[in-house]
Amino acid sequence: MTATYKLVQWNRHKRVYDVALTLACTGYLATFVAVGLAMPEPGRTVGTEVLAMRALGTLAIVLLHLILIIGPAARLTTLAAPLLYNRRHLGVTFFLVALLHAIIALGFYGGFGVRNPISSVLAGYASYGSASGFPFEVLGFAALLIFFVMAATSHDFWLAILGARFWKTLHMLVYVAYALVIAHVALGPLQSEPSPVHGVLLILGVVTIGTFHIAAGIKELRTDSSAIDADDQQWIDVADVGDLDDNTASVVCLRSEERIALVRHDGSISAVSNVCAHQGGPLGEGRVIDGCLTCPWHGYQYRPADGQSPPPYTERLATYAVRIEGTRVMVNPKPNAPGTRVEPARIAGSKESS
């Protein structure tokens, strides 16, 4: 839980991110409309309302791909961290673009008639057994509902009151929604487009997302495969002091799938849970900044000794007992209650900074 809530915790980075995002979206839409109004020949072009619907729909799909690539990309390289940091704004922008697409479709395809627009678009026909008769609009609507819930609960307030686990599960539904979107396109507009361009681009998109996730998954598996067995040991040998750099954290994987972040700071070593209390970011890949272990995802901070965020923040992590034998770092794998202070293990010969 945070001290209080703001609509957006603005900083320079988020502003630059949003400007770039707005430019990208505008550039895409302008290009699409300009090309659409010139093809196949002036006076015989796709109608403006259909053009707008398609420009927004395809932009939404492009943005969705970007959103889904950022997660695994950030696991593969820390260079992608700036893209992850403000992904929330990308997500909300994506939702608004998709919503506009749906509103135009509903208005033009469902409006001006003798039935309620929603019912005529979503319940106008229902040959679920055939590709040409499958009501693809229903798939888009279902995906949009999921995206709505995700966009509506993207604020940290929701993370706090729903709990990280529920929130994360809710936001994992993005993969279900992604599948619905792909089916929405494949059983919808793709059925009446003779050009192979659209189908090929869609397949390329699915393959790219798959590749990024598989690559990130392999990296995670490698990390897990070096896990340390801690089943019946009270103290486990996790590292050599010489391998730990000052003001840096490292991840220790236990066979129990638990992960611990080892922090070397101020001539001592502390151990806290590797899972950030905010969104589960990997604290062991973070650094010590201003005396606090800082999460590489969104910059949440914790004091290494007690796992507590400095006031006025109230996040807390589980801590672990640490001791040094010779040059080996030993950790007791039994977690202490979040926020429990543990005396950091002092490295022989090192000096405490004043």
């Binding site: 839980m1 945070t2 001290a3 209080t4 809530y5 703001k6 609509l7 929603i118 019912s119 979503l122 319940a123 106008g124 026909y125 229902a126 009501p135 229903v138 709505f148 819930v149 966009a151 509506a152 609960t153 604020h155 307030f157 929701w158 706090a160 009151i161 729903l162 529920f166």
Partner: protein, 71 residues
């Protein structure tokens, strides 16, 4: 066609209840469940309304529990 109409009607009912719940949630519920929301300005709490509309059954339970826990 008939099935889909029924599903849509169910959605409409769910969203209508959600809308009423969201208003109450913005005014009182949010601060009741999460102390940090007490000091949040109205426009921030208004941003919680769409989420409350969507997840009202979950929030309703949390609100009721928070009410029991309070003295």
């Amino acid at each position: 066609m008939h099935t889909m109409e029924t599903v849509l009607l169910a959605f409409a009912v769910y969203a209508t209840i959600g809308l009423m719940f969201a208003i109450a949630f913005v005014i009182r519920g949010a601060a009741h469940i999460d102390a940090a929301a007490q000091s949040a300005p109205l426009r921030v709490r208004l941003a919680f309304a769409p989420g409350a509309l969507a997840l009202w059954p979950v929030l309703g339970i949390k609100w009721a529990r928070a009410g029991k826990a309070a003295p």
